[in-house]
């Protein structure tokens, strides 16, 4: 028995080490990026527990089976609730965004970039889920049906300069649209603080914001 436990522990240790030292390409390929699924753990756990309990209660002939099915369904429900919560947390229609920024049509076209890092300190093998909220407000407001081209550029902040990373072009509507970035904290990262600057270019204006995370 002891031997089995030891072998099992060794296997787990090797597995966790392998996860922690995964190459960046491997991590990027297996990125769990999906809709705004950050901070879902709590809702998934609660959903699984409640679903499991209900499933076990309803399936009188086989409570284990009922519990498992209920748990899976509950976890899926929890994920869905999290996504909806996040969407309402990070997305805004024109009215909401305009109110928050004190925007009025007389101000002309407006763009802003906000950044969110749900987790500030990360360990090797984890993903830094960065959210870049792009706020576009124009005099057209909520009445129109227009889309506005916005270029999003990203830079890695070095000691005294910004190292360009990527440039992406999107069309956004009036309001706030979140972009999700899953940065794999892979074996190229050294412990320390990392800062990524996101720049939004539209209407002849450039705005930027920075997101900082620490790698342990």
């Amino acid at each position: 028995m002891l031997k089995k436990v030891l072998i099992g522990s060794l296997g787990l240790a090797l597995l966790s080490h392998a996860q922690a030292t995964k190459s960046c390409e491997e991590m990027l390929d297996s990125s769990p990026k999906s809709r705004l699924t950050i901070d879902t753990a709590k809702n998934v756990a609660v959903g699984a527990l409640v679903g499991g309990a209900i499933g076990a209660m309803l399936d009188e002939s086989n409570r284990v089976r009922g519990g498992i099915i209920g748990g899976i369904l509950g976890a899926l429900g929890g994920t869905a609730i999290s996504i909806l919560q996040n969407e309402s947390r990070f997305m805004e229609n024109y009215d909401k965004a305009a109110k928050r920024y004190g925007y009025s049509p007389s101000m002309g076209e407006f763009i802003a970039i906000e950044t969110v890092s749900p987790k500030n300190a990360l360990n090797m093998g984890e993903y830094a889920n960065l959210i870049v909220k792009v706020v576009v407000l124009t005099p057209e407001g909520s009445r129109g049906d227009s889309a506005y081209p916005v270029t999003i550029r990203s830079y890695l902040k070095q000691r005294d300069y910004l190292l360009p990373l990527g440039s992406e072009n999107y069309y956004f509507q009036n309001g706030t649209t979140p972009l999700v970035y899953n940065i794999p904290v892979c074996n190229l990262f050294k412990p320390g603080e990392y800062s990524i600057v996101f720049e939004g270019i539209a209407f002849g204006k450039r705005v930027s914001n920075e997101v900082v995370f620490r790698v342990n």
């Binding site: 960046c24 390409e25 990027l28 990125s31 990026k33 999906s34 809709r35 705004l36 969407e87 990070f90 997305m91 920024y101 004190g102 970039i113 906000e114 950044t115 969110v116 890092s117 500030n120 124009t138 057209e140 129109g144 049906d145 227009s146 889309a147 506005y148 081209p149 270029t151 550029r153 990203s154 890695l156 902040k157 070095q158 005294d160 300069y161 910004l162 190292l163 360009p164 990373l165 990527g166 440039s167 072009n169 999107y170 069309y171 956004f172 509507q173 649209t177 979140p178 972009l179 970035y181 940065i183 892979c186 190229l188 990524i196 600057v197 539209a202 450039r206 930027s208 914001n209 920075e210």
Partner: protein, 476 residues
């Protein structure tokens, strides 16, 4: 880069930066477009993509795209076949996921020190950091005189604020400085509202305040007295105070109305905005400025640093707090000998930052700070004319002591340590700690003339590291 994405990039680059107006198809037309578009995408090998209605009923690209290039390719296909009037190129996070964006791909290359092949932009010359990208903000408050005539002045609090503001400004902070009559309750609230409206998420916010510190309620939460704050209770030495030293006895003797509350005005204001807050306070009892988080009722019981650090984890965004004194100690100040930025700081005069100290032993001693201390006598028993006579470094400075050279002991030593230690907060605090305690003890003895009244360990500055063990004000 694939040819398709290069072409699409060109399409985007040449798109004029103004709104694209679209005509809305009917519901039947939409269904037809969806069927046709999805067939085109499937045949083009963009298997994860599809066209569907978004929650607003518009036809947009949806599904999972392996790369940003694939997303661009799908947009190009839709533009070519239907035009933006029928399938909108709007990116909708709720529907479309791009698994690997240039940002994610190029970060790996950047960490390796290699050029990234996933976009022309990535091979451009690195851009210099411009002030626009600075994300360091500070609200600096210093109040040395007050509207309420019953509140004695705090000599040097304005100079503390100016010195700290200059230090932060020189290190890249966008600062708001409110001194004396500018530091009204309304102005402070407005400054915080203005900061809230412009401060980007992820920014750093430093709040510095130098003034009197006094409890705002019976439970001992300490507020920073502003220009138009007023006294609520008269100062009486509280017989309930268990501390044998004068500091704790006087703590609850004067409550204030409309003081600056770190919790209410800073923490709560920025609770739903992701910023990193650093608080630096030079005021009496400032260690208890966030006391309400402890839930303690007895105002004379002061929580330990570790207790504070534990409970303050519930204060959103709060990273570090540095205070001039602990929750049961006065903070001292005086006139400096020599220039502020000199390596050797010496204090030649004293007064405390307690709101009021009308005691039988020291009636008017705290009404002035710095050049003369009424009611005290020099070593020869003669009435004191100048603080330099009673200074521990007598002779170093006398008539040259000016209004500008008065400072809080804490601010003077802490700021000097910050300048020496590249702005590292905890390191500077540790370095300044013994000097602040030694000098404050000396100043207390100078005023009270009784070791029984002065704590032997000085004013006991406090550092609460809530979320960060170290941080530098000079960090770029």
């Amino acid at each position: 880069m694939r040819l398709s994405s290069a072409l699409i990039s060109l399409i985007f680059m040449t798109t004029p930066l103004f709104a694209q107006e679209f005509e809305t198809p009917t519901e039947t037309q939409k269904d037809e477009i969806i069927e046709k578009a999805n067939d085109i995408l499937r045949k083009a090998g963009v298997s994860g993509a599809r066209i569907q209605k978004n929650p607003e009923g518009k036809l947009v690209l949806a599904g999972t795209f392996l790369t940003y290039d694939e997303f661009l390719f799908a947009i190009m296909l839709m533009n070519n076949h239907f035009g933006p009037q029928q399938v909108k190129p709007i990116y909708d996070t709720r529907l479309a996921i791009i698994k690997k964006t240039p940002t994610e791909l190029c970060l790996i290359y950047a960490l390796r020190g290699q050029e990234c092949p996933h976009g022309r932009f990535a091979v451009e010359k690195p851009a210099r950091i411009s002030p626009v990208q600075a994300k360091k903000f500070a609200l600096v408050i210093g109040v040395s005189r007050f509207l309420d005539p019953t509140i004695p002045p705090v000599a040097g609090a304005d100079a503390d604020a100016r010195a700290f503001e200059q230090y932060l400004r020189e290190n890249g902070y966008q600062t708001v400085l409110l001194v004396d009559s500018q530091a009204t309750v309304d102005n402070v609230k407005k400054a915080l509202r203005d900061l809230y409206s412009i401060i980007p998420e992820g920014s750093e916010l430093v709040v510095f305040a130098a003034s009197h510190g006094a409890p705002v309620d019976e439970r001992g939460e300490v507020g920073i007295v502003l220009y138009d704050s007023s006294q609520r209770t008269r100062c009486q030495v509280d017989p309930k105070a268990s501390d044998k030293y004068i500091d704790a006895s006087l703590k609850m003797c004067a409550l204030v109305k409309n003081a600056f509350s770190i919790k209410e005005h800073v923490i709560d204001t920025f609770a739903n905005r992701k910023v990193n807050i650093y608080v630096v306070l030079d005021a009496c009892y400032s260690g208890d400025a966030l006391r309400s988080y402890t839930g303690l009722d007895n105002p004379y019981y002061v929580a330990s640093t570790s207790e504070y650090e534990r409970v303050l984890k519930s204060a959103p965004n709060l990273d570090m707090v540095v205070t001039a004194s602990s929750g049961d100690r006065m903070s001292w100040g005086g006139a400096l000998a020599g220039e502020f930025r000199n390596r050797l700081i010496s204090f030649v005069g004293s007064n405390s930052r307690i709101l009021r100290a009308d005691t039988q032993t020291q009636t008017p001693a705290f009404n002035t700070r710095g050049i003369t201390v009424t009611g005290t006598k020099n070593r020869q028993g003669k009435p004191q004319q100048s603080l330099s006579e009673s200074s521990p470094r007598a002779g170093q400075q006398s008539s040259q002591v000016t209004q500008e050279s008065k400072h809080g002991v804490f601010t003077a030593f802490f700021l000097e340590a910050l300048q020496k230690n590249s702005g590292l907060i905890a390191k500077s605090y540790e370095e300044a700690y013994p000097e602040i305690n030694a000098v404050s003890k000396q100043l207390c003895l100078q005023v009270y003339k009784s070791p029984q009244k002065c704590p032997p360990d000085g004013q006991q500055p406090a550092l609460y590291r809530i979320r960060k063990s170290e941080h530098s004000f000079q960090q770029r």
